[in-house]
Symmetry: D2
Subunit: 348 residues, 4 copies
C-alpha cells in the first residue's frame, strides 16, 4: 500500500472550502487535509467546526497559518485554494515556485484571453510570471480536458454556472450540429450559496425567500470562460443568471437551433457518445428531465433535453450541485486525474 | 349613489377563486359576492372560511348551491367562473342564455383557432352555440383589448404565464421591432399555486422545496393563447415553464433579437409609450430589473429589460403575481372595464 | 368632513417602517405620511421606492430630513418612530416637547421596571425627563390598555413576540385560572423579518433555509415586557424564541397548568369573553388551531388551544404577522384609538 | 475476509426506505440490498431510480416481488421493513417464522402497554404470536438498549420524534434530577418528510411554505413510546409536534424543572457521562446550541441546553435528521450492533 497524499486547503471557511474539506477528509487516498488560515480570514477560528458546527465530532479540523516552509516540512504536495480570485492570483506564483501543484477554485486562472480577463482586473506583482502561469493553467473540466489535467501543475477549477452550461453544449457544438448564427441562450438559475458566505442585502433571507431575480445580464464573469471553452463568439451566447430561493443547486435551461433536422434519439446518442466513459455525467432520455434535487449532494452533472416537433429547436436542461460538481467535487475529480486515480474516488 | 352590482363566484374554494372572493368582498362598487358550490366541490364546506381559515372573522362567506333561478331572484348580473375548463365550457352557454355576463378564469374560451384548442379536448353538448361563444368571447387582457372587454358578454380571463409573456412582448412586436425569424424564447418560472390546490406528487412540499424543474416544454397549454394574441407562428416562440419553490409569483425571462440596432432609451420609450395610460404595468429603467417579490400581492405586471452592447439582443424580464394580475386581479380589472369604472377600483 | 390628520414616519426604510408607510398611505383618515430620514439612514435614498421597488408606481414616497420646525410648518400632529431603541430614546423627549404625539415601535419606552430596562442600556442625556416619560408612556396593546392609549402622548408599541404571548395568556391569568407556581412556558417561533433588515451571518439565506434554531434562551429582550404586562415573576415564565425559515409570522405555543379542572368550552368562553369587543383577535374552537399563514398580511392575533383530558394542562397557540399585529398594524390600531376612530380603520 | 451479509428492504419507495437503501448500498459489510415490492406498492416501478431519479447511474436498484422462498434462496439474513405499521404488523410473524431477523421502521412493535397501543388499532390474525412478538421486540434506540439490540430477532426502530425527545431526557431522568411532578414539555418541530410521501392537503407546498402549525397536541402516536421508554406517566409529559416548512430535520425544545439547584457544568457532565461511549450523540456546551442544519444528512443526535440563573429551570435542545437518526440511519446503527460491527460503519 502506497503512502497517502498530503494536501492543504486555504479558504476552508467558505462554502466551497468547507465542502472540499469534508470530501478530502474522507478520501481514501489522502491523509486528513491541512487547513490553512490567512491573516484575518475565518473570523479568527482555531478549528473549522467553530465556523461549521455540523463538522464537530470527527476529531477536529484545526486551522493553521499559511507558511510555505511549514507546508514543505509537512510534506504537502497539493494545495487547494478556495479563496477570492485576488488572493489566488497573488498566491499561486509562490506556491508553484515552492514546487506545489495547485487546484484553484477561483476565477483567477481560468481565462486565457485578455478581453475576458478584464472582468477580474488583477493587479499582478510579477506580470511575466502571471502571464506564463495563465498560459500554463489548465481549465479543470475533466469531461473536456482530462489529458491535460493529468499533467497539470496548475488547474483552474471551472465556475459553477460555467460547468453546467459547457457540459450541456459541448457535445452538440463539437459535433457541429448547432446553428450558432441564430444565437444560443442559457437561462441559468442558482441557489444562494453560489453568492458566497458574506452577508449582503442580496443574500438576506427576506430578500431571497419567495422571490426570483435575474442579475448580471450580459456581464456575468462566467460568460468569458464559457465562450472561451466552447470557442464561441461573445455575441453567440446570451447567459442570464438568476438567484433561486434555495441554498444550493443550479439548473441551466439552454436553447439552441440545430443546423439540421434531428430526431430525439440522435440528440440522445450525441450526448451519450460524448460522455461515454465519463462517470459524472448522467443523460436523461426524453421525456424525462433532470431536476435540481436529483444531483444535490452528488458530483453529477445531469443532462436532459426536449426537441421540438420540427426537429430543429432544442431545449437542454443541465443540473449540478454548485458546491460539488460546480466547485469542491470537481476539484476532487481533478485531483483524482492528476494522481492517476479513479475519477470517482472519494466522491460517492 | 347608484346601486351596487351583484356578483357571484363559482370555484371560490380554489386559490384563484379565494383571492377573487377577497377582492370582490372589498370592492367599493359591489355587494358582497354570492359564493356558489357545485355538487361535490369544496369538500362540502358551508362557508369558505372552513377551507381558508384566514378568511374567518369577516362575517362569513357562505357557499350556496348553483341555481339559475336563485341567481335571477338575487338579481346577480355578473358571474365569475374559477372552475376547471371542462366545467366552464359546459356552464357558460347556460349562464349567457340566462342573461348573465361572465368572466371565466379557465382556459375554456381563450382560444380561437382549432389547432390550439386541441390541447383542451372539450366535449361540447351544443357545438353550434359553443362555436358562436368561442367566436364572441373576448380575451380579457385589458392592456390589449380594453375596448372590446367593455362591451363583452363573455370575457376569457388570460392564463397566468400568458399574461406575463404577452405583456412583455406586445409593445416590441406591435412596433415591428422584433426579428421573429430568429425565434423568441420565454423562459418562465412560476410558484406552486399556479399548479392548483389538488395535492399531487408534483406539489408535495418535499418534491418542490430546494428544487427547480422544467416541465411541459413545447407543449404547455398557455403556448396557444400567447401565439394567438401576439399573432406569432407556433415555431416562432419557445415557451418553457419551470416550477419554482415559492407559493406564488411568476418571472418570465424573454429573449428577442431586434431587427434594427436600438438604444436602451429607445426600448424603454417603446414600452412606456405602449403602456402610457395603463395603471397596472410598471416599467423599470435599465439597470433596474423587476423581481418576483415586487409585484406579489399586487395587480401589477412589472417589466424591465437589458439590451446587449450590440443593440440587437434584448432580454426582457416580466413579473406578476400569478393569482392577481395572472388571475383574480385581472378578472376584477376586466369587470371594472365592463362596468365603466376606473381600472384600479378595488385593486389597491 | 373633517380635515385629515398629518403624520410622519422616521425609519420607513426598515421592514416595520415600510409596512407602516403602506398602511398610513391608504388610511382614509390621513394625508399621505411624511417620511423622514436621519443622517446616514436608508442608504441615502431620496424615495422609499428606491429601497423597496415594490412601492413604486403610487406617486412616490419622498424622504425628507428630520427637522422639528419643518414638521411644525407642515402641521404634523403624530410621529411614528420605527427606529432602533437608542434613537427612539434620544428623539422622543424633543418630539414630545415640540407638542407631537408619538407612537414608538422600538423597545425604548416599553419597560417600567429598572431590572428589565437593563437589557437596553440606554444613555439618556436628560435622565429626569427620560424617567418621567418612561412613567408616562403607555404600553400600546389595545386589547389590554385601550383607555389609556386613547389619551396617551407617548405610546410604546409592543414587541412582536410580546404581543403574541401576552394576548394568549392575559385572559386566563386575569381570570386567576393559571397555576403560576408550576411555571408557564412560551415556545415562540418567528420569521426572519423580526431580526431586522441588517444583513448578518444569522440572516444569510443559507444560514436560515432548511433550518430552525433557538436563541436568546432566558434572556430575550421581550421577556421583560411580557412579565411586566402580565404581572408575572420573571421565574414564572420561560420564553424561548426560535428563528423560522419564513420571511414573516410568529407562532407561540404556550403551556400552562390550570389551577382547577376545566372543560374546553370553559376555556373557550374565557377567551371569547375577554376579547368580546375586540376586532383584531380571533378565537379558534377546539380542535381547530391557528397557523402562521392564517394571519399573514392581516392585523389579527389568532388564538387557539388544546386542553388535556385531565382538564388541567393547557396548550395555547397564538399567531400574528410580526410586521402587522406585531408592529405596524398595531401602531395604526393605536393611532385609531388615540384619535377616536374605529379600531379597524385602514387595517382591512 | 468474511462473507458479506445479505439484506432485503421492503418499502424502499418511501422516504425512509430510500435513505435506507442508499446507506445499505454503500455499507462495507453488506452485499447490495435486495429491494422488495408489495403488490400495488411503489406505483409499479421496476427500479427504484424510476421513483427517485437521483439514484440513477449507480448500476440500478431493481425491485422484486416479496417471496419468502426467494429470500431464502438468495440467502437473505436480515429484513428491513419501511412499511406502514399495519403491513409490518402482518408481515413480521411470517418473517420471524422464516428465520429472518427483522428491523421494522414502523410503529408496529414499539409499544408494550395496551393503553398506548390503542393508537395503532392493529388487527392481528394470530393474537398469541403477535403478543409474544410484542413482548420480544426490542426498542431499537442504541444509546439506551445496545445490549438487547445485539441479540434481538425483532428490532422496533424508534419513531423520529421519539428519538429526539428520549435522547434529550434520558440522562437527567435516569440520574433522578428531574422534578417530574412539575411536568415536562417537549415542543417539537419536524420537516415535512416526516409526514410521508403521500400527497395530501397538509403536505401541499402552498400549505406548508411560509407557515408553521401545531398538530396532534396531546395525542400524537409517538407520545406512547416516549413515556414507555422514559418510564413516565402520560400526564408527566406534554408533547406538541409542529410542521416546519423544511424537507427534513427535527428540533425538540424540551423544558424540565430540576429537583435540585445545578450548575451548567453539572448538566453538561451529566449528558457527557451518559453518552460517553456513544458515537452518534454530540453534546454542545453552553452557550452553543444545536441547530437543525448541523445534523442534516448525518446520523447524529445533537444535544444542547440552557440553564436558568436559578439553576432549576432547564431548556434542552435536541436535533436530528428525521430520515437518518430518526429512521434509516438508526436502523443501520441497530444492524451494526446486531452483527457485532462498529456502530459507525456505513454511516459516515
Amino acid at each position: 500500500m502506497t503512502a497517502k497524499l498530503k494536501t492543504a486547503v486555504l479558504g476552508a471557511t467558505g462554502y466551497s472550502g468547507m465542502e472540499l474539506t469534508r470530501l478530502l477528509a474522507h478520501h481514501p487516498r489522502l491523509e486528513k487535509p491541512i487547513l490553512l488560515r490567512r491573516d484575518g480570514g475565518g473570523n479568527g477560528a482555531r478549528d473549522l467546526a467553530e465556523v461549521f458546527p455540523g463538522l464537530s465530532g470527527n476529531g477536529g479540523y484545526p486551522l493553521q497559518p499559511l507558511s510555505w516552509p511549514e507546508l514543505k516540512r509537512q510534506d504537502v504536495q497539493l494545495l487547494f485554494l478556495a479563496t477570492p480570485h485576488e488572493v489566488s492570483r497573488s498566491l499561486v506564483p509562490a506556491a508553484i515556485a515552492e514546487g506545489l501543484r495547485v487546484i484553484d477554485l477561483s476565477g483567477a486562472w481560468r481565462l486565457k484571453q485578455a478581453k475576458h480577463k478584464a472582468v477580474y482586473s488583477f493587479q499582478d506583482s510579477d506580470a511575466v510570471t502571471a502571464a506564463e502561469l495563465t498560459k500554463e493553467a489548465v481549465y479543470g473540466l475533466p469531461e473536456l480536458n482530462s489529458g491535460r489535467i493529468a499533467d497539470a501543475r496548475l488547474v483552474a477549477n471551472p465556475g459553477c454556472y460555467a460547468t453546467s452550461v459547457i457540459l450541456a453544449l459541448a457535445p452538440l457544438l463539437q459535433a457541429g450540429l448547432v446553428d450558432r448564427e441564430r444565437g444560443i441562450v442559457s437561462d441559468s438559475k442558482s441557489g444562494v450559496s453560489g453568492a458566497g458566505k458574506e452577508p449582503t442585502a442580496r443574500t438576506h433571507f427576506v430578500a431571497v425567500a419567495d422571490n426570483l431575480s435575474a442579475y448580471s445580464v450580459f456581464n456575468h464573469r462566467h460568460l468569458g470562460e464559457i465562450v472561451e471553452q466552447l470557442e464561441l463568439g461573445t455575441s453567440e451566447l446570451i447567459f442570464t443568471p438568476h438567484l433561486l430561493p434555495i441554498p444550493r443547486g443550479i439548473l441551466s435551461t439552454v436553447y439552441v437551433h440545430l443546423n439540421r433536422k434531428m430526431k430525439s434519439e440522435d440528440v440522445e446518442s450525441c450526448l451519450r457518445a460524448f460522455y461515454a466513459n465519463r462517470r459524472w455525467v448522467r443523460i436523461f432520455a426524453t421525456p424525462n428531465l433532470p431536476q435540481v434535487q436529483f444531483s444535490l449532494h452528488t458530483n453529477y452533472c445531469d443532462l436532459g433535453f426536449c426537441l421540438a416537433e420540427d426537429g430543429r429547436r432544442l431545449v437542454l436542461v443541465s443540473c449540478i450541485d454548485n458546491l460539488l460538481k460546480g466547485a469542491a467535487g470537481q476539484a476532487v475529480q481533478n485531483m483524482n486525474l492528476m494522481y492517476g486515480w479513479n475519477e470517482q474516488e472519494g466522491l460517492q
